[in-house]
Symmetry: C2
Subunit: 355 residues, 2 copies
């Protein structure tokens, strides 16, 4: 484990992982991911629209259902959902998948939010309707009140290709100087393109604003606001929270903060070492809220027999589907690094053999 920021506070929150834990993985699409060059979370820009559903299917039943194979980058590097699945199964953590607006309905049991919708391209300045943004927040909150109330620790993760761009949009829309601070699943972060897309949308909107739902409506997406609502409901129940993800989690924190949710001592950002190496996540989180710790899972694929996994060490993929945060929770619950690695290898082998 790497305690990147506020170790003592992080340890306090993580101690809850030994008790009742619940995982919630939010999926959704934004057409922003179809802008060539924005997202590598799919073999082609069009295929990125299927990635959230297929990530969920794989997480749930160990194989893709809506497509032939699990999501891969254009280079063929597999989804981080491999890590998440291995972590969940090694530690027996119960979990749900929540559909905030997946382009295709996942072919597994999943929580459907009534306001779910696919987000429009962020450069339009009209990502989702304002009422939908508010609805998703409230529905996320209601869901957490219903399901998270007996958990001591809740993990929330996401699968939304194009999500670092919409996260940037949300942060900019709320007036944060976040240009250049978001990460990427590609080894070469297309920051100039992301900036151009968000700036285009910004021009067409009335942002920035202090209203998080306006920021989401203009430059956001359906997923981050649903997660922020779920966070709000979870905090109400008294459960602690791991925001499992990279720089996108700053957008979730920002939405929650601007709706008045207390964060200090309750929430931390849990990510991967690869993500930490790629970005200044700590600065970004501090920019939103200086009281939120950052922890990274120390998984190391450099000795892996599989090239697809060794690519993670070269800056490909890095994080997603709550991989880092779920790995952290599994480790606190007693899964060793070696066992987690072994399970990930098993998953990888099984998938490559098409079993």
């Amino acid at each position: 484990m790497i305690y990147a920021y506020k170790e003592d506070e992080a340890r306090k929150i993580l101690s809850a992982a030994k008790g009742r834990v619940l995982g919630a993985y939010f999926i959704g699409s934004t057409k922003t991911s179809t802008i060539p060059g924005i997202s590598v979370a799919g073999a082609t820009p069009e295929l990125t629209l299927y990635t959230p559903a297929v990530d969920a299917e794989y997480l749930f039943c160990g194989r893709p259902l809506s497509t032939d194979r699990i999501p891969v980058t254009p280079e063929g590097i597999p989804t981080p959902a491999l890590i998440t699945r291995a972590a969940l199964n090694s530690s027996g953590i119960p979990f749900i998948v929540v559909d905030s607006g997946s382009y295709v309905e996942p072919r597994i049991p999943h929580v459907a939010l009534p306001s779910r919708t696919v987000g429009e391209r962020v450069d339009s300045g009209e990502a989702i309707p304002y009422d939908v943004a508010k609805g998703l927040f409230e529905e996320g909150k209601a869901l957490a009140r219903g399901i998270a109330r007996s958990a001591e620790l809740t993990i929330i993760g996401e699968s939304i290709p194009g999500g670092t761009t919409t996260a940037l949009g949300i942060l900019i829309g709320l007036g944060y100087e976040a240009w250049g601070l978001v990460s990427s699943a590609a080894p070469k972060n297309p920051l100039a393109l992301k900036r151009r897309v968000v700036e285009e949308g910004l021009k067409r909107s009335k942002l920035p604003s202090d209203d998080p739902f306006e920021a989401v409506a203009g430059l956001g997406d359906p997923v981050h606001v649903s997660m922020a609502g779920f966070l709000a409901g979870t905090v109400e129940t008294g459960s602690r929270l791991i925001l499992a993800g990279g720089t996108q989690m700053a957008a979730v924190l920002a939405i929650a903060k601007h709706t008045g949710v207390p964060l200090e001592g309750r929430v931390l950002v849990g990510t991967t070492r690869w993500l930490l190496d790629d970005s200044d996540l700590v600065s970004l989180v501090k920019l939103i809220h200086p009281g939120v710790p950052v922890v990274a899972c120390n998984l190391d694929f450099s000795g892996s027999p599989y090239e697809g996994l060794r690519y993670y060490e070269k800056g490909y993929v890095k994080e997603g589907v709550g991989a880092g945060g779920t790995g952290i929770a599994a480790m606190v619950r007693g899964t060793t690094h070696k066992r987690l690695l072994g399970l990930i290898h098993e998953e990888y082998e099984r998938l490559m053999e098409g079993r």
Copy 2:
């Protein structure tokens, strides 16, 4: 608490209610409920199609969303979801709503099963496609594996108007001599009509059969088979189970038994005193599996200041939405009869005042 059958075994299972409990409430529709005289779970036969969604909405957020008011019988007697909601909230039990095929999508976060479908009238002999029946079972099972695996006790309930008729259909379809053994939400059980409807369907089918999916496909509905799948997945995780309902739970038990799920020492039927008084539930359960205990929640509305609730004592409504079994779990967790009654009265008042 009334230990109607196998007290020692029941106490053993119920002791798990002090630990981690999860509630799962399955909703779905069958057009059987629109046959005049079959169901009183709605003000009119047509309105029964909305009852499952509105029950779920009320359970989740305390008010109806898809209709103006909560489900009532033609006489205006309110849904047993009042009891369920009071029991869940008094004891902090987390829960989910699972849509197996509601006529309208509930306007709250809910688990959607990919194979969800509204059932056709049972007298057609073609209630749901065979593959759908199998799909719902598998999806229920997968859901339980994902979400129930940290629970020590799981409660499953249902809202499906016309459900006693389809339950009868499933039992007859599997070759059980269940004619006349199912209960009703009406004080005068329309048994002759139920028999006619099921016999009509039976004639048009190739039943009886030992294959539970054939029985469900011919004379069943989407809900009971989903619950049986969820039961199967829950048993796998090691969690104990309360089948929260009346005679319909015999259909769930029968489907599970015919797919080879071990039931003894793991599952009990939890119901209400009103239901026990109305039917020979114990004989019916014994007919399916002599090792499954039956327990009833001893709620008493005879001293209630509200006529709508006092009607329960006259044989109206009796059970539904897992009311009895959820009440039992709440009581084992420390909710007193007095407190539960007080909360139910609060709910009733609030609803009558339209708050």
